[in-house]
Amino acid sequence: MLYLHETLTIVPWTEDEFWHVMGTDYVPQVEKQGLRLVGLFKVGIRYSENIALWEVDDWATLDRIREFHDKDPWMKTWKLESIRYRTDWVARVLEPASYSPTLAKINKGDYKSTFYLHCQARVFPGKVSEYINAIKKELVPIAKSWGMQLVGCYQVAAGEADSDEVFSIWTAGDMIAGWGAIRDAARKDPALKRWEAKAGAWRNEVIYKFLLGLVSFSPLRMKEEFLQAVKLMKAK
């Protein structure tokens, strides 16, 4: 299994319309080619950035999708029309850790969240496997005790990227109060200090982003009652 991680630059004030046409037009077309949506998120808080995560079976499927993107007449039209909504996109191919949940597992499990924490770590050369194993063995259990669940853990395998990047995505609460509670629990936990001290041997920095699960057709998204509340707020 492989994942495609896309960073999209959105034209201001077109986001809702972009999500709408993604759901009605783009997603059904690319799913026929084997590209399955895992999550489409607004980056919190950045006005013009979205992140999309897709699952594919293998490298050969990615070749097929690349051909489709390059040569299919429908896709050529879509690419031109979508300029109204997005001005740039940059993608990476990610290889999942053995313990990273697949889309099938995500669909069956309870991974709904308003906020997801997106962590991009630049790992020291030669330390990627050790770091990924340590996330499973040490970070996943302690993060669970704070109320966070691992949604995915991946290393970069191709695309537009820097060497030795490791991505992890976690549920991070339904409300900001939920994130506050997670943060309080983590800060009081001596295990976090131990983890940070150890992790310094594998990576020097982590870039954090909040992903907002606002898109109704995205498998990773906020709980239904929150989606309805957002819908009502926008309608007013």
Binding site: I83, D88, G159, D162
Partner: protein, 224 residues
């Protein structure tokens, strides 16, 4: 040999049109000054292009580019036309390292099947630590290139900074890759190969970090 390395920021949605415009309105005039090595679009970013041109052995070949830019009618017409397609570009003059193939060598090797029929070119920019350049390049030539070529990736170019935009210790390499399935297979083999792992461990002493891109060659690119 000196080369011109251009990263082009193309207007959204215009990369294919820009590629056609370069084929029809740039190359004939431009090739009076330079040889085309490659022209590509980014496989993972929809508005970036990359052009690589061979200039010549001497610095005077760089000076002669001014003729195209400021005096040549084809050059001046192209620059006006190109405004429609590109927003910005980032140019470096780079020089080949001793084991880098030239345009002539690429053409000869194409007759044997190299650098032709590839869906992708893998581009890597490595930052070598101060004072470690000679060791790194020697090891790249003797160990890394034979290992990777045996796995199926062919070295199409390897360069260091010569002038204009760049960073200290930068080495840019370009490799032919059949397609992503081929890349995936090579990557798996590489991760399992003890010789590569040994080389990667050794290389920690020479290089800090690298970044990479994957390029789709244009239909008129020499490297394809």
């Amino acid at each position: 040999m000196i080369y011109l390395h251009e990263l082009l920021d193309v207007q959204p949605g215009m990369i294919d049109e820009y590629t056609d415009a370069a084929a029809n309105h740039l190359v004939a005039g431009w090739n009076r000054y330079v040889k085309t090595v490659g022209f590509f679009k980014n496989a993972f970013r929809h508005r970036e292009g990359f052009a690589l041109w061979e200039l010549g052995e001497e610095a005077v070949s760089v000076d002669s580019l001014g003729g195209f830019t400021f005096k040549d009618l084809d050059g001046m017409a192209w620059q006006r036309l190109a405004l429609k397609y590109r927003q910005d570009w980032y140019d470096s003059w780079i020089e080949s390292v001793p084991f880098c193939p030239t345009v002539e060598m690429i053409k000869k090797r194409q007759k044997k099947g190299d650098f032709t029929g590839n869906a992708l070119y893998y581009w890597e920019q490595t930052k070598v630590l101060p004072g470690k350049m000679d060791e790194f390049l020697k090891s790249m030539q003797r160990e890394l290139v034979p290992m990777e070529e045996k796995r199926g990736m062919k070295l199409a170019g390897c360069y260091r900074w010569y002038g204009a935009c760049g960073q200290s210790g930068e080495i840019t390499s370009l490799w032919a890759v059949k397609d992503l399935a081929h890349w995936g297979k090579m990557r798996d083999e590489r991760l399992k190969d003890p010789a590569f792992q040994k080389w990667a461990e050794k290389a920690i002493a020479w290089r800090r970090e690298s970044s990479y891109k994957f390029w789709i060659p244009a239909y008129w690119s020499l490297l394809h």
